[in-house]
């Protein structure tokens, strides 16, 4: 097959690695991590690339993305199928399964995650501060921007409010993916954990979901969206579902069906 993989740059190494090992011809296009903060913009970018790629003779388009704050919800497959892993976000793709993600999320909701590509590809935008970006230098940059715009008194207040999420977090986890040298990222995670009073943990990643996406093994853990169909959030373990252009909301239908059997 000839495949096009559109992915978030936080998955750069895993995508390139799996593309290199795939039996198929895979073209890769990465998008900036910062788009995560604006799901509507990310969706528009993805749709534009998906549409353009649909004209280029690929057998399928692969999205190395999760639901990502509903960014992929609403995407429509062009004249070729679009394949998306059933995942809420990239943490599932780093950990290898929804089950493992759920265990981590339910056991330790206040976790900040570190992976090599994620940390390396920080673009210096203060917009992600509230979502939990990192280093002291980055925070200093945001602070200075606030001082110049709103004055020092307000800047102090904003840093306190926007940084309040840190008080709710308890753990920093570095995910070792076994690709490239992640020691600097691990050191940063340890350092920030110490500075913020969080526990530090190192977990082994599992890139099986990315690998299977790129080799074309799309059973169970992937949504294969037929041409013209649209991604919708399914609000259940399947994470996403597909909706045909003529269909009423599949999720509501499923609810009705489930209800009828109860």
């Amino acid at each position: 097959m000839k495949l096009k993989c559109i992915g978030c740059e936080v998955l750069a190494r895993p995508i390139y690695h799996s593309a290199a090992l795939s039996p198929h011809v895979v073209d890769v296009e990465l998008l900036p991590r910062g788009l995560h903060n604006q799901p509507a913009d990310l969706r528009a970018r993805l749709q534009a690339i998906v549409d353009a790629s649909g004209e280029l003779g690929y057998d399928a388009i692969l999205l190395a993305y999760g639901l990502c704050g509903q960014a992929t919800s609403g995407l429509i497959a062009p004249t070729v199928p679009v394949v998306i892993p059933r995942a809420h976000d990239c943490i599932t793709l780093f950990l290898g399964s929804r089950q493992r993600y759920n265990e981590q999320f339910e056991g330790f909701p206040g976790t900040y995650w570190y992976t090599q590509d994620y940390v390396e590809r920080y673009a210096g935008s203060g917009a992600s501060l509230s979502l939990g970006s990192g280093t002291q230098a980055e925070l200093q940059g945001v602070y200075e921007e606030y001082v110049s715009k709103y004055g020092q008194d307000n800047a102090d207040y904003l840093m306190e409010v926007m940084g309040a999420w840190q008080k709710h977090y308890r753990r920093a986890v570095y995910i070792e993916l076994g690709l490239g040298d992640g020691s600097a990222t691990e050191a940063q995670a340890k350092d920030e954990a110490a500075r913020r009073g969080w526990a530090f943990e190192r977990l082994a990643g599992d890139l099986v979901l990315i690998r299977r996406l790129l080799i074309g093994d799309w059973q169970e853990d992937y949504l294969v969206l037929p041409p013209g169909h649209r991604v919708v959030m399914s609000y259940d373990e399947a994470v996403i579902a597909c909706k045909s252009p003529s269909q009423t909301d599949l999720v509501q239908n499923m609810d009705t069906i489930n209800h009828a059997y109860q």
């Binding site: 206040g110 709103y150 008194d153 307000n154 926007m162 959030m233």
Partner: protein, 210 residues
């Protein structure tokens, strides 16, 4: 609007907390009616801040510093207001749903609602359905406002509505939902009474539901 209420208004719109504090004190000392200060200087200013946010002129930091300036003024004003002056628009029980620790959006909605004259009962983050039920029972007739930032925690909005149902309270409370991944469609699906895409529109929605 006279010059001092204009200064209070401008101080809030521009997020100048110390200026607002000083001007509210001056206004009180000059014998100005606290109700006039509140309505003309403060509530009107927060409405303007909301408008600027909706049209993309203001972003979250501007909203936060404006809300902070408003709260500074309100703290000075409150001891001078009679209970009848306050004319509470209603009470809102607000919280981020279970499993979700994000509170910037929720806090901003709370502050904007307070600025519009609502009384806020803030349950914090990671609020279980049981806690929402207890608060809804305790604060009879209050609106219940839920926030979620994650698609993983959004389903807890549905769980909470089901818990309100099970407790026999659903008919007595209106439920508002919001947060980055939440949509109008989802709100309808879980039978919430309203959805707002941002803090400013949450105020309009809350007003329409009381």
């Amino acid at each position: 609007m006279n010059s001092i209420t204009q200064e209070i208004y401008d101080g809030i719109v521009n997020g100048q907390s110390p200026v607002v504090g000083q001007k509210v004190q001056e206004a009180l000392d000059s014998g100005m009616s606290p109700v006039v200060i509140l309505n003309e200087g403060m509530i009107a200013a927060m409405a303007e801040v909301g408008k600027r946010f909706e049209c993309g002129e203001y972003f979250v930091p501007e909203m936060l510093i404006a809300a902070r300036a408003m709260q500074t003024g309100l703290a000075l004003l409150k001891p001078h207001l009679q209970q009848s002056d306050l004319q509470s628009k209603g009470k809102v029980v607000i919280g981020t749903v279970k499993g979700d620790l994000h509170d910037i959006g929720k806090n901003l909605v709370g502050m904007m609602l307070e600025g519009a004259g609502f009384e806020i009962v803030d349950l914090g983050t990671d609020v279980s359905p049981e806690k929402f039920v207890t608060a809804a029972r305790e604060h009879h007739g209050a609106l219940v406002a839920m926030s979620a930032l994650l698609t993983t925690t959004m389903p807890n909005m549905k769980t909470t509505i089901e818990a309100l149902n099970a407790a026999g309270l659903r008919g007595q409370v209106k439920v508002l939902v919001g947060g980055a991944p939440v949509t109008e469609n989802y709100a309808r699906q879980i039978s919430a009474d309203g959805y707002a895409p941002d803090a400013s529109r949450a105020v309009a929605l809350a007003k329409s539901l009381v």
